[in-house]
Subunit: 431 residues, 2 copies
Amino acid sequence: MADYRELERGALEEEYSSVLSDYNRHKAANLSLDMSRGKPDRCQLDLSQAMLGVIDSPADCLSETGLDCRNYGLLDGIPEAKRLFADLLDLQPEELIVCGNSSLNIMYDTVVRCMLYGSDRETGPWGMGEKIRFLCPAPGYDRHFAICESLGIEMIPVAMTPTGPDMDEVERLTASDPAIKGIWCVPKYSNPEGVTYSDETVRRFAALKPAASDFRIFWDNAYIVHDLYDEGDRLLNLPALVRGTPNEDMVYEFASTSKITFPGSGVSVIASSRKNIEYIKSIMTVQTIGCDKLNMLRHVKFFGGVEGIYRHMKRHAAIIRPKFEAVLSAFDRELAPLGVASWTKPRGGYFISLNTLPGCARRVYDLMKEAGVTMTAVGAAFPYGRDPLDSNLRIAPTYPSLEEVKAATEVLVTAVKLASLEQYLGRPARA
Amino acid sequence: MADYRELERGALEEEYSSVLSDYNRHKAANLSLDMSRGKPDRCQLDLSQAMLGVIDSPADCLSETGLDCRNYGLLDGIPEAKRLFADLLDLQPEELIVCGNSSLNIMYDTVVRCMLYGSDRETGPWGMGEKIRFLCPAPGYDRHFAICESLGIEMIPVAMTPTGPDMDEVERLTASDPAIKGIWCVPKYSNPEGVTYSDETVRRFAALKPAASDFRIFWDNAYIVHDLYDEGDRLLNLPALVRGTPNEDMVYEFASTSKITFPGSGVSVIASSRKNIEYIKSIMTVQTIGCDKLNMLRHVKFFGGVEGIYRHMKRHAAIIRPKFEAVLSAFDRELAPLGVASWTKPRGGYFISLNTLPGCARRVYDLMKEAGVTMTAVGAAFPYGRDPLDSNLRIAPTYPSLEEVKAATEVLVTAVKLASLEQYLGRPARA
């Protein structure tokens, strides 16, 4: 195989008809695969099956304080769950609230709370007349962007780099525009690129001087322990960095066990300064009497402590890692020589980000769909669903089996080749 | 014992010193009891203990459709849970969404959704500049009122009668004021009086002609199957009554298993017109990927069907009923002859409402506190915590044991006598 950019038209034509016949062969196989969402595979879920049995008798349902977790009470979570998450996040139990099964829901609630009540007692609600803006490092997590779009918050894209968001832009924009109230970050193994923010990036976040005194960093640490290799990426602890500084109240950190135990039945957490946590609790107490404490207890008893989580995540990695490697080795083998695509090589998280030639991503998506493989919607990783280059594809290799990932990746490299050749040859995309 | 109203001053003085010595005796007993909240007793929770064991193997975690309930997905709940709640509410599965552990949280979210997005796609958000008002039948549920107060919604009290809210007032106010966007109702075994709305009341709700086209009835059916006796009160089905009428979209019904299985780990539901449910889902999908499906499955497997819930509630009643009866028989015996108080005699729910002489409720609360019994805060059952007559006390007899309920009620009748005598004698309340 040769670099497409160096091929003459005749050779391109020849390659095209060969790739087209490959593609038609794949299509004839009638695949039905889903690589669209970051869902764990069934055998990852089996790893946590024993968690469902750790609470049985009424005595099992007591918290270490003697509180009956079956009954009402305890807005911020049981103490042992707070301690487990404090260990996981390397923070103090007073700096967090343990919540229900969805960290997305806490993020949504946090934005809504700022809009209706304000981010603290002193400044007013965000939504008082003026336009609100959020910085959105892109590509990023589509569900973050959906929250902004749904609530009418204007999104300003900021480019992602291999060390995190373009911090020059982040500093410049936050310093100059008081309507910018927040920024979405997935700082470790970012969705979809798998980038971990560098120490310098995190330190610059800690030292931001935003024009809005009620500016907040939404630090979605969704992949905090989701390493694929024994030596994981290392992320600086932003909430700890700002503790005791004038920016102490600027950070909301989120995490969950959705991709540690069960996506539908995990436990989530919000962490922030003590002042913010007290303020959040003062509003949350109107909203609910408390979250599911029995499920918190299940998690605590199942893991024993944070070391139990670390051990558990190695078992996840053993299942996921071969899938990532299958995708990456196919890309290296099939695409690298051609000069028609680039991709990230994450050492954790749930996604690989593939960049095609500009203007080819939608075509690849359609070709995949036609061949029975569902990919994440093109543009999903960008604010308003608009990828300005039509180049980015998010690959979620965890849900299908290893064999299915291999099969889907074979189709994918063929589709990337075909779309690239169509572009080079100026061929109109077929219907 | 004689009617205090007929006693001469000398006899009142004599009674006073006798009651005071009773009270001091109670105080010396150093009780520590809590009758403040509608919490189930521990042995009620034990009734549902087996529910925690019904899901064990991975195969147990599959919904009837084959969907793995451990994983992401299914925003509106698993089909078998929707069917169970549809049977419970006597509605269609398409008319409801099964949610997480807190119906209070759904109510809060529902008000917030109306404020930020509007109650439908056509009318605007409730919060656009103009003042919003809610009708609040009083006495009522303090947490409903806390939602309004927290969100800056003005509360207009409407008197409760033995057949429900004063419907003349409800009709008059909703018809004349377009700023009135909602009303809070606990239509069966109301909190705190235990009143079940009469058929006429429910029919008048169904036929309301509110000035605000986006007016909504918040029908919190918290005690839908919480009968104390085999023959429970019968409530007309408001969502079914409005179905197919111009008021079809006017009702949100809420329910939960908080007081059926576990208060901390139950399942909740919102029901409304199909149009409203579709609209709610279109916004909820931004908020979360879905609620805890494993817990829904636990409930379905534990109960088998709605008949299982009915059987289960009889076991609850067997525990609770003697506590209600202990309170009521003490009132009948000790207070009825004196003419200083009136109370409700609920046939279900979690509360008894006691009305003292005007101006005595706070004094009774303080006397109880001094004697080691925590009652619900005085005024809690009224908007802004203000009982205009200082007369109402909410009694929650479920949480303490039967012996404790008897002991606390003895103190309570003594405190009511003492406060009444202080008032008749013009004695200043002691420090």
